[in-house]
Symmetry: C2
Subunit: 101 residues, 2 copies
DNA sequence: CAAATATATGAACATATTTTCATGTAAAAA
DNA sequence: TTTTTACATGAAAATATGTTCATATATTTG
C-alpha cells in the first residue's frame, strides 16, 4: 500500500501563498468590487469599503506585489484593477462552503 | 454614481476565515490527500507528509474545529476525513491562477 | 500490570500579519 | 507659489499564527 502526494511541495506552497494573500475581508472585498468595475481609484475603494487610506494602500500594494492587482496612475489618482481574474472564482467557490465558524 | 458592495461584511469575513484555514501548505496537502482517500489516520498523514506528529495534530484539530474535517476514533487510531468537500475545489481553482511570486 | 503505540494538549517561543500613525511625494487647484 | 488632494511609505505597536517541546491520555500488546 503506497500512498503518495500528487501535489508537489512547490505547488502546495504557491497555492497557499495565493490563498493567503486573498484571505482577508478587505482584500476579498477589493477583489469582489473589481470584478464588477473595470478599475477603481484608491479613494473610491476607501469610501466604499470604509477603510482608512493608509491601511488600504498597504493592502493594495501588497496585492499588486503578489500579482493579483494592476495599477495605473492618472493625474492624482491611482486606479487599481484585477490582473489575475481567476481569483474571483475563489469567492464564488467559497460561497458554497458550509463550514462552521 | 452609486457604488455598493454586494457582499456583506459577514460573508466576506466568513470567506476570509475559511480561506485562511486552508491557506497553508500542510493543510492543503491534507485536504488534497483526503480528496483521494476516504479517511486517513494521523500516523499515515504524518509519514506521507513528513510532518512532526504534534504539529500535524494541531493542524488537524484546528481544521476540525473550523468545520473542514471530521474525525473518528478506531482503537488507537484517529481517522480524519473531509467534512466540507467543497474546499477541494479551491485547490483546482487556484491551480489555474498565474500570479507572480 | 508494564511497555509500547497513537494521538492530544498546553505552554513557551518564533515568526508573520495587520493596523496605526506620522510623514513624504506628486499632481492639481486656488 | 501656497494649499489641497490623492496616494505611498516606513517604523512601531498590536495581534495572530505556526512551531517546538515536554508531557498527558487512551488503547493495545506482551
Amino acid at each position: 500500500m503506497e500512498i503518495v502526494q500528487h501535489l508537489s511541495k512547490e505547488k502546495l506552497e504557491k497555492a497557499a501563498f495565493i490563498l493567503k494573500t486573498v484571505a482577508h475581508p478587505t482584500r476579498l472585498a477589493v477583489i469582489d468590487l473589481l470584478s464588477y468595475r473595470e478599475k477603481m481609484s484608491v479613494n473610491e475603494l476607501c469610501s466604499v469599503l470604509d477603510c482608512e487610506q493608509s491601511l488600504l494602500s498597504h493592502h493594495l500594494i501588497n496585492m499588486k506585489l503578489k500579482g493579483i492587482l494592476n495599477s495605473q496612475k492618472d493625474g492624482q489618482n491611482v486606479y487599481y484593477s484585477l490582473k489575475e481574474k481567476d481569483v474571483v472564482k475563489l469567492i464564488s467557490c467559497i460561497e458554497n462552503c458550509d463550514c462552521n465558524m
